[in-house]
Symmetry: none
Subunit: 209 residues, 4 copies
DNA sequence: GGCTAAGCGAGACGGTACGTCCTGTCTTATA
DNA sequence: TATAAGACAGGACGTACCGTCTCGCTTAGCC
């Protein structure tokens, strides 16, 4: 009776095992068929779990999908500080654009943000787990540059983030124009030129020329 | 059975009357209960029309909701050219922010863009009817300013629009930070400082000081 | 596209076709697996119909099972009047006992009556469609005999039916004692001896001796 | 966490205390909301016990309900022998009818018998604990009367019980006709007239006239 | 001005998902 | 060690919606 391998029967399972299977099944559904296919019914079936369990742990299919996405994508987004804010931000923004365009992740993120508009629980999860932490990293980078004197003292870091990452999200969600690395570079240039200190701007213009 | 009273009976209706009633009922549902409540079933009931008719004219509930929103909101968005690009854009962006924050329109637009992520028909309708025409007006304003010498010649008008309106959409859809007129002003300042020609930038700094 | 034979697609079906398929699937489930297996879910699946349809037409799975049972069992229960009430009733009661014991019908009827104790809709359906009509036939037979002078004038036909069929139902539902044709015969004898007129009782005793 | 207050904690309880609380909670549910509400889940919650315990002691919710019913209704059903079988049986049958009609007991018994049709464990419990012992008392009374010469020697006591109590159960379970004491009296009269010895029948007719 | 068929309302239909409840099994931790 | 507590898989419940399809009525548009 011990260690039968393929667990059967209907009794209680260890919570971790269940969570793992649910998140794996959800991620598969999410990447293969899109957010619309992430329903509690289908996830329950695919993961061999029960709807009761899903309802207990996740407030909505969207929130489950979000968690599955974050769990399945190990994201190493640390900013590497080289001392040149333009270089550092450009590196990060290019990586972000590649993530959105080169993989299914872009579609998934767009669908998650889309669903969050009518799913408060999902919105909360997205904000806490995804957007705020990522924004934090960018903010830190910008404030460091400001302290170094590369950016004006009255610059609003959140505003810069909106003009950089927010503009990319905009092209993701309202795809009237292409999203690519050249666009990311242009964004960085225009944004930093607006936010640069007098000295750093001259440096930028020197580089750009 | 003979006292049918208010019931209109089942015969043919004039197409225009039907469309009008459907769009009115949809708008009511949309503004009162949100996009999730705009289902063909509920619209058919509320408008006294039949699902057959709805499926004939609209590809999805989302597309119907979008049309109802545009039909119910007469939007006068003409840019008034004063010769000062910062003033003109600031006026427009402030009006846009007010629209998003002071009325139910903000929620509706957010829900529509959200639903468009998984509804191609709605995405197409939104782009054609809503985002592209509005973007066009801003682009024209920017290009006029460029020809006037206020903006650099190599400036990308689409990119500026993303940094202005796109940043606002970003705060609408990912509401981690507040969206208000002060934010709009700051956006305009930072964006134009990055895009301004040498002479116009000195003018801007003069104003800003 | 025309006359494809095996109807496919999801549109409306002719009501009669749907009813037929539902009742057939229900009867199969009922006789093969018992009343506990007649759930709206399983019937919907087995019949290729939808739960919506089932809920529209039947108030409970039990009521559906009852109708399926009646529809599938063509019951010819006409009393044949030979002029001898004992013979006629004995014939019928024996047939009834055979039905209850020789086929799955006994189990099904018992389950239906059992479920009717907690399903008012089923109870109503059973009474209207099943028990009352059958009781009516027996009552008619008894009253005919009374008019012929075989039974006392103050005899209560309903009471006799309870003592005959009701006793059989009792052995079906509370199976502490066997139910068979000999029992039916004994029931008839004892009941009619109690209800017989003076003259008919002497006749009965003569036969019975 | 430390202020658990009323909660007893999760440790072991004395078996008797647990049984008592379970049966009390079950009886309350049974009489207040009917057999459908007697589920292991609800009983566990209402009694403060755990499902583990319920599954250990009772094979099905029906069996638990049956035991709770018997435990809560102390039934003194001894036949008092007066020497007149009609009087003794009539007294008992009237009491039985009153029990079924004047209290919630009738509904509960009907639901229990009903559930027994699809719950073998409940059927067994009902037979052992309820129907057989009661039948035994009636049988004894009848056989005593037979020995006294009031009933014919070839009379089948079980059959008489079916015609008396069984007919009442029939009206309880298939309520097409009213169940009351007058009906009980008529049942006794007709049944005993069929089963009476020659001498006792004349006595009965004398009484009845 | 009467006739006819185009087009609509009403809504049934199969299917899928929702969120809840219950069953029977099993795990954990307390007393 | 027996218990409370309750998580777990499974499955039925009853509802809502989608997209398809049928029916019957009415009025618009033609003769």
């Amino acid at each position: 009776m011990s260690e039968t391998g393929a667990r059967r029967g209907r009794g209680r399972r260890p919570a971790e095992e269940v969570r793992t299977r649910v998140l794996a099944a959800t991620a598969t559904l999410l990447f293969d068929e899109g957010l619309r296919s992430v329903t509690f019914d289908r996830v329950a079936h695919a993961s061999g779990s029960s709807k009761t369990t899903l309802y207990k742990w996740w407030p909505s299919p969207g929130a489950l999908a979000a968690e599955a996405y974050f769990a399945s994508s190990v994201q190493t987004l640390e900013f590497h500080d080289t001392g040149d804010v333009r270089h550092d931000i450009r590196t990060q923004l290019r990586a972000f654009v590649r993530l959105l365009t080169d993989s299914r992740a872009g579609t998934v993120i767009a669908e998650l943000i889309g669903a969050a508009q009518t799913d408060p629980e999902l919105a909360r999860a997205l904000s806490t787990t995804y957007t705020l932490p990522r924004r934090r990293l960018a903010i830190d980078c910008i404030e460091l540059a400001r302290e170094r004197g590369q950016l004006r003292h009255d610059v609003d870091a959140d505003l810069l983030v909106d003009q950089l990452w927010g503009a990319c999200y905009n092209r993701l969600l309202i795809p009237d124009n292409p999203l690519n690395e050249a666009y990311a570079d242009a964004l960085v240039d225009n944004t930093l030129r607006g936010a640069a200190s007098e000295t750093y701007r001259q440096e930028l213009d020197g580089h750009g020329a």
